[in-house]
């Protein structure tokens, strides 16, 4: 590792509060090699790596207190139940929830969005009703609405994107006029753009619309306060924030969740079942049918502990410093040959860098980068309306997290050099 070559070691600058090189040592997979080289992982926007603390917490559950929850009266069943509910409380505190009743566990952010659309949407929307989305949305916040729109005859309206990679809010009031719901991302997984969620929620509420915030890219990287946003629903996934796959979160305003019909039916979500019907359980279990992913819930709780240990202010500051470093280095080394989509100011974006390199196709770029053990994602990033708006079929996306160092960015730049050489561009 050439970390000593950079003036700040694992830190991007003197202002970087995190020593990412030391943090990387907490993540076993980052100590491995690929194609005989040190693995350089720059795909955390797809999924983050997992620290030992999270792996151990899940392993400990299976090895020492594995039992089903909310059922047994015996010791380990009670321990499992309280470990799971303690994790719920941690997640709730992490995002500024008022009560654990508002923290519903799902499979992932996608399921959280589907829950809102199928439960709240189905009960509250009728033919001709308007739902406003943005062109920056991930398919997770588009397709569920398309499904309901086709069934009910809803009208979908779209917030545009400006040339500098922000939401085009010039006609927001017009779009929201008469709307019943607004679905919008807090941070784009393609452009990195951080959107003005509190303003959007205020505008939506003024128009009488309920808000679903896709915070999948936001929660892992920023201090999140759902109350300060004044949002109605917020969705995110555990696997992008140092937690395991198979666990997502829907935070919802209690009054709304209370009034909503159940989503999936089965065990856990009921209070009573008779031959002629059923009554639902209290929140949040009303929305958690069947045996929950107990180990994964404990895992997301451990991930919250890990991130809080670093401090979310520090996480954000590190990513701003490292993104600044990356944009400077890539700009200096490749000039006009490299385009970084999205806002030019690192303060207005997260550490997601969607690249267009010479006239090379992102697949070809990512293939050569892989040869250099640099992992980036090539594709449409589940955001095809945005891709069409940008006029591209795909981008090569490099994204950073708490464990990425300036040396990782240098490795990316070196591998891009090799790519240019290979394809002679």
């Amino acid at each position: 590792m050439a970390l000593t070559d950079t003036p700040h070691g694992g830190r991007a600058t003197d202002a970087d509060p995190l020593d990412a090189a030391a943090i990387a040592a907490d993540f076993p997979l980052l100590g491995t090699t690929s194609h005989g080289r040190r693995l350089v992982y720059l795909d955390s926007a797809a999924t983050s790596q997992k620290p030992t603390a999270v792996l151990d917490a899940m392993d400990r559950y299976y090895r020492t207190i594995n039992a089903n929850v909310h059922r047994g009266v015996y010791d380990i069943a009670e321990q499992a139940t309280s470990a799971m509910e303690a994790a719920r409380a941690k997640v709730g505190r992490f995002i500024g929830a008022r009560s654990t009743s508002e923290v519903v566990f799902t499979k992932n952010a996608t399921e959280a969005c589907n829950l809102v659309v199928q439960s709240w949407g189905r009960a509250n929307l009728a033919e001709g009703d308007v739902v406003v989305l943005s062109l920056m949305e991930h398919h997770a916040d588009i397709v569920p609405w398309h499904i309901l729109a086709a069934e009910k005859g809803l009208e979908l309206r779209w917030i545009g994107v400006t040339d500098d990679g922000h939401l085009d809010l010039s006609n927001l009031d017009q779009l929201l006029d008469g709307a019943k719901a607004l679905g919008v991302t807090a941070m784009s997984n393609v452009l990195g753009t951080i959107t003005p969620v509190a303003d959007l929620c205020a505008a939506a509420h003024a128009a009488g619309a309920v808000t679903l915030i896709d915070a999948c890219q936001y929660v892992p990287h920023n201090v999140t306060d759902v109350a300060a946003w004044d949002a109605d629903f917020v969705a995110f996934s555990g696997h992008k924030m140092c937690g395991p796959t198979g666990i997502g979160v829907l935070w919802g305003r209690e009054e709304l969740l209370d009034a909503m019909p159940p989503f999936l039916g089965g065990g856990e979500m009921i209070r009573d079942v008779r031959t002629d019907g059923f009554t639902v359980n209290d929140l949040p279990w009303k929305f958690e049918a069947g045996t929950p992913p107990i180990a994964e819930i404990i895992g997301i709780g451990a991930a919250v502990d890990y991130l809080e240990g670093l401090g979310m202010d520090a996480v954000r500051a590190h990513e701003v410093e490292l993104t600044t470093y990356a944009m400077d280095v890539l700009g200096q080394r490749f000039g006009d040959r490299l385009t970084i989509h999205g806002p030019a100011d690192p303060a207005e974006r997260g550490g997601v860098l969607s690249l267009a390199f010479a006239d090379l196709h992102p697949h070809d770029v990512a293939q050569v980068l892989d040869e250099h053990a640099v992992c980036v994602r090539a594709g449409h990033h589940c955001a095809k309306p945005l891709m069409r708006h940008l006029g591209v079929s795909a981008t090569a996306r490099a994204s950073v997290y708490v464990y990425n160092t300036p040396a990782d960015i240098d490795a990316l730049a070196d591998a891009l050099d090799a790519t240019a050489e290979f394809f002679m561009v």
């Binding site: 196709h361 992102p362 697949h363 070809d364 293939q367 040869e371 095809k384 079929s393 290979f422 394809f423």
Partner: protein
């Protein structure tokens, strides 16, 4: 471990840089068909003229990576002027070279190795053989062929 040279053979890069039969045909008489690679967003448009039992003309549009673009370019050169049966045979040979057996879960009966004769018929397309060692790229190489198969079916059904 397979190297980049296995994937990016010179002839592939040549077809990528200088794609053959690029463009559009008037619809009708030509038939137009689109294909998508849902994984990466690549899109291909094929214009196809089938006269009797012969593919008399073909043009390619759309955008994609070097593998999908060069595969489409080589395919267009290989099928132009061929009969529908010959095109179907060629498609089969190409797919077997790509060892397409996505649906067979019985590990025992691997599909038969493509014969020397069928590989010889592939000509330049043989250069794409190395793609097999890069499983995620197989879909890039087969996109144009699957789209062509769909286009042929549609063109013949409409005729």
């Amino acid at each position: 471990m397979p190297g980049l040279e296995d994937l990016y053979r010179e002839i592939i890069l040549d077809h990528y840089r200088n794609p053959r039969n690029r463009g559009e045909l008037e619809v009708p008489p030509a038939h137009r068909v689109e294909g998508f690679n849902p994984l990466c967003g690549d899109e291909i448009v094929i214009y196809l003229t089938v006269d009797g039992d012969t593919v008399t003309d073909i043009k390619i549009g759309g955008q994609g990576c070097s593998i999908s673009q060069s595969s489409a370019s080589m395919m267009s050169a290989a099928v132009k002027g061929k009969t529908v049966d010959e095109v179907r045979e060629l498609t089969k040979s190409f797919k077997s070279m790509m060892s397409i057996h996505e649906h067979s879960l019985e590990g025992e009966d691997e599909p038969a190795e493509p014969t020397a004769e069928s590989v010889a018929k592939l000509g330049d397309l043989e250069a794409l053989r190395g793609v097999v060692k890069f499983p995620v790229r197989i879909k890039c190489a087969t996109l144009s062929w699957n789209t062509l198969a769909q286009g042929l079916d549609e063109a013949l059904a409409g005729a």
